[in-house]
């Protein structure tokens, strides 16, 4: 529950905004809001029928998205990071321990200097980047999938099932995250290989992080399900399947995408934080968080060899920033207020 190292709090706030924007706080909506929404959707439907073409909300979103400078910068930055982490290493050899080259400052030969055992920091940062991104992406994938499943089931079926799932969500949400991951990390101890360990970290991050998306989805699906236009569409005779694919899913997909993007950024930060404390990725592996940990082991190192912590930290910042830019842009793009104006 601690503020800054869960990094979910900020995500929580974002999600609250999403929730508000989707006009859902509770299971029922007030009459005014329903009316306004219905009006909007009816206008859309009318426009669609006039044009005789299905304007996918996706296209609308994409146009909005492209137009914002921030998101373009974000995409560019992220592309750079990806390039750095995946393409550049092809021209690099893996970092070797060399006790003659310890603690060297950055030079033309070693762009980011060398670490405590003489390894090339540049190479370590690229390797670390791959692992950090990998863990973040996988964790996001896991949490998104779980969130979708639980959210949709909760949304479609009310009653006992919904109730149980709600309580379950609450349990997971209230879990003190940091002690959990540290404990699990310690409990596994040495009996696992480094790869296994990374996998477990990613699994745990995924298993903890789905609650926000589940709640969002549930609310969204609930509200959509009861919409007059849905009932109207049904009454008119449009098939359930079409309703689901043309109306429910597009709305839901955008939320999922935004949530997943923000989640990705958050997971990268959390993994770095964990590794920084020593509970995530460990030697002989590498991750940006671990590199930061090694670069800040005592004050003399911080002061005399700043390249050891500066570069990994910078890369974490750049990556997370770019992903957040993208996520923000996405979110604004699908914001109906933007569309309506």
């Amino acid at each position: 529950m601690s503020k800054e190292d869960r990094n979910f709090k900020n995500k929580d706030l974002d999600e609250k905004e999403l929730e508000k924007n989707s006009k859902d706080k509770r299971d029922e909506l007030s009459v005014e809001e329903q009316r306004e929404l219905t009006l909007q959707r009816q206008q859309e439907l009318a426009a669609q029928e006039r044009a005789d073409v299905v304007i996918s909300p996706a296209k609308l979103v994409w146009q909005n998205f492209k137009s914002r400078k921030i998101t373009v910068i974000g995409m560019g930055l992220f592309a750079f990071v990806l390039f750095f982490v995946f393409i550049v290493p092809f021209f690099q050899s893996s970092p070797e321990v060399n006790s003659d080259l310890r603690y060297l400052a950055p030079s033309w030969e070693f762009w980011m200097g060398n670490d405590a055992v003489g390894r090339d920091v540049f190479a370590r940062v690229t390797i670390g980047g791959r692992i950090s991104l990998y863990v973040g992406a996988m964790a996001t994938l896991i949490s998104t999938i779980i969130g979708i499943i639980i959210g949709s089931i909760s949304g479609f079926y009310s009653g006992i099932v919904d109730n149980i799932l709600q309580r379950f969500t609450e349990v997971v949400r209230s879990f003190p995250f940091l002690p959990l991951i540290i404990t699990l990390s310690a409990a596994l101890g040495t009996d696992v290989s480094e790869d296994m360990r990374i996998f477990i970290v990613m699994l745990i991050l995924g298993l903890i992080g789905w609650t926000g998306l589940a709640r969002l989805l549930r609310g969204q699906i609930l509200s959509i399900r009861e919409q007059e236009y849905i009932l109207a569409a049904r009454a008119v005779g449009i098939k359930d399947f079409n309703i689901i694919t043309k109306h429910i899913i597009p709305n839901v997909v955008s939320i999922i995408i935004v949530s997943a993007t923000l989640s990705f950024a958050s997971n990268i930060l959390v993994e770095s934080g964990l590794s920084f404390l020593g509970f995530g990725v460990q030697e002989p592996g590498a991750s940006w968080g671990l590199l930061l940990r090694q670069g800040t082991s005592n004050s003399s190192v911080i002061q005399n060899q700043p390249w050891l912590w500066f570069f990994p930290g910078l890369f974490i910042l750049l990556t997370v920033l770019s992903v957040n830019f993208i996520g923000d842009g996405l979110r604004d793009a699908i914001d109906p207020k933007n569309n309506a104006r």
Binding site: V97, S99, R102, A116, V117, A186, G189, T190, D191, G278, Q282, E283, P284, Q294, T296, S297, N298, S299, S300, V301, N304
Partner: protein
């Protein structure tokens, strides 16, 4: 907006002024890593509180000199000079020592320190009531007669303690524990304030039966004593406890009633503040002048910065101990001493000392500390020891001799791939280190050489508790549960150096002989050469000497080191230079020409404080 800016600026101004708060002269500030709040002898294992406990407790019967010798304490005992003449040897082997206290010893509150306080101190370290209160390891007077009965709560009358009068008492050692080279340590006890801890007689020691009869809401003496754990009310040492701010500092005031250490020296510094400073930034605090003393520095980058600073002086002493690779000598390929020797020839220990200690340490070739008196006085050690520098040919020879001479298909091993023995088993070794920089550095250094020599080697790290299980308690595991052949550990010796527990086969299957090492007459770890004796024999010979037979002790120690150097239950990698640094304003005897404060492996700042003076305010 402007208002906010002004506010922020003025705030910054005020805060920077705060730093110029009046400093206290006559105050010594010492840095420590942390406290666990145990300032009376209550049986915890935290070493961080030792300094505080040492400062609050004096008047012991036996003192330890800076060289690590045990001597009767003349400040406590009126009969210190004649102590050995007054020893009574009984026919059953028991020995009785007679102690006559000086009559001018006082607690900090003015009460006299009498013989019954020593009995109380003995009980506080052995009584059943203390176990009931959570005192984890009770061993005071463990070698005296009657200890076990008191420990088990059978009686509250300690048979080995005989109270003769207000200033006289006797201690009787159980003959079963004699002869013992460190006999004097067996009668080393210190007083505890009976008048305070019994609340003037309100509380008493209880037997186990009496404890049973207690109600759950009754406080017993053990719990009463425990309530003083973080705030001892009286002191018999150089300083008196004043206050403890959790996780921040402990403040002590000079004890006016202190009789002095074993030389009679009393402190001149009025006040001591022991401050928690994180080890990551401790050097900064020293260089900033925020703390005066920092001890136990081993990191090269910190040491160099301190040496270069003109406002700091310091010195070093060789560690009484070493760090190295501890082998599980009963497990798999490790059982053969030749394999162990081969590994020793493959580890580039010089590189490790260079990289890891950055030159501030030395190589040791046996389980010894460069600060031990035996090492200092010996002519044979270390010259006659095998020095295990990197020698890949020798290593390969040894591995061949030990039977690991084949490759996967049963042909002679040719240098590629891993080695196998004639039973088709692969030479696979696993190493477990603690989560520390040491392990980070060591693993990449040793892996290439090992692999090149045909060893399938994996290095892993874990927390200390896992290390505990796999190393110290390995004997409890099933064969297929065991995983690790070697461990990255360190050990430090005290003034009471007794290798019997670590290497004698009597202790197989316990946590003491954690290497599970055996070199006995029935089962020598390597064939004995002419005149060579087994480790079993030597360790027993060493301990069963009289305290005066130091020459013989040295001889046995040398033989032991030669044998251990051959058998290598442990491969020592390094012995540190322990640096301490002190602010220029703190000097021994006020003498600015002396660097450092005279610390040794047995004499820490809390012992040296009585000689320290603050030379300028």
């Amino acid at each position: 907006m402007k208002k906010i800016l002004v506010f922020v600026l003025s705030l910054t101004l005020v805060l920077s002024l705060a730093a110029c708060r009046r400093q206290d002269g006559g105050t010594l500030v010492v840095g420590t890593t942390e406290f666990s709040g145990e300032f009376i002898f209550f049986g915890g294992s935290s070493s961080y509180d030792v300094a505080i406990r040492d400062l609050l407790n004096g008047a012991g019967t036996i003192a330890t000199t800076p060289e690590g010798q045990f001597i009767p304490n003349p400040t406590t005992l009126a009969n210190a000079d004649t102590l050995f003449d007054q020893v009574t040897e009984h026919s059953n082997g028991d020995k009785t020592y007679r102690f006559e206290l000086n009559d001018d010893l006082e607690w900090s509150d003015g009460e006299e320190i009498t013989a019954s306080d020593y009995l109380f101190g003995l009980m506080q370290g052995s009584a059943y009531s203390m176990a009931e209160a959570g005192h984890a390891s009770l061993s005071a007077g463990i070698d005296l007669i009657g200890f076990q009965d008191v420990r088990d709560g059978v009686t509250t009358d300690f048979a080995g303690f005989n109270l003769i009068d207000e200033y006289t008492f006797e201690l009787t050692i159980d003959g079963a524990n004699l002869p013992y080279f460190y006999e004097l340590a067996m009668v080393s006890i210190a007083p505890q304030p009976e008048h305070v801890y019994t609340n003037d007689g309100e509380y008493e020691w209880l037997t186990a039966a009496e404890h049973e009869a207690l109600g759950t809401n009754d406080t017993h003496i053990g719990e009463y004593i425990r309530s003083f754990m973080s705030a001892p009310p009286v002191s018999s040492g150089a300083y008196v406890f004043e206050t403890y701010e959790e996780a921040q500092f402990v403040r002590l005031e000079r004890n006016e009633n202190y009789a002095g250490d074993y030389r009679g020296h009393t402190p001149s510094i009025d006040r001591i503040v022991v401050r928690v400073v994180p080890s990551a930034t401790d050097i900064e605090h020293l260089l900033n002048g925020e703390i005066d003393i920092l001890t136990g520095l081993v990191e090269g980058n910190k040491i160099e910065r301190a040496l270069a600073d003109p406002n700091i002086h310091g010195d070093w002493f060789p560690r009484v101990g070493f760090g190295g690779m501890f082998f599980a000598t009963d497990f798999g390929p490790m059982a053969d001493y030749r394999v162990r020797q081969a590994l020793a020839f493959l580890v580039d220990r010089e590189q490790f000392v260079d990289v890891f200690l950055e030159g501030y340490g030395s190589l040791v070739n046996g389980p010894m500390g460069l600060g031990q008196w035996m090492y200092v006085e010996s002519d044979r050690i270390p010259d006659e020891l095998i020095s295990y520098t990197v020698d890949k040919d020798r290593a390969n020879e040894l591995l061949d001799d030990a039977g690991w001479a084949y490759d996967e298909d049963g042909n002679a091993w040719d240098g590629d791939g891993y080695r196998y023995n004639d039973a088709g088993e692969e030479l696979q070794l696993n190493w477990l280190g603690t989560e520390s920089e040491y392990s980070d550095l060591l693993a990449p250094i040793i892996t290439p050489n090992f692999t090149e020599a045909g060893i399938n080697f994996t290095a892993r790290q874990a927390g200390f508790d896992i290390l505990l299980d796999h190393y110290y308690y390995a004997y409890e595991m099933e064969e297929d549960e065991r995983e690790y052949h070697m461990f990255n550990l360190a050990t430090s010796y005290t003034a009471l150096y007794d290798p019997y527990y670590s290497y004698h086969s009597d202790w197989l299957g316990t946590t003491y002989n954690a290497n599970q090492f055996e070199d006995s007459i029935e089962n020598p770890a390597a064939p004995l050469e002419d005149g060579e004796r087994t480790v079993d024999e030597l360790t027993v010979l060493m301990r069963e000497l009289e305290a005066s037979q130091t020459d013989l002790f040295l001889e046995y120690w040398e033989e032991l080191q030669l044998r251990l150097n051959k058998l290598l239950p442990t491969l020592p990698l390094y012995s540190n230079q322990y640096y301490h640094f002190v602010n220029n304003r703190v000097r021994i005897d006020g003498d600015t020409s002396i660097d450092g404060i005279g610390l040794t492996g047995f004499w820490n700042w809390q012992q040296a404080v009585v000689d320290m003076e603050i030379v300028e305010d």
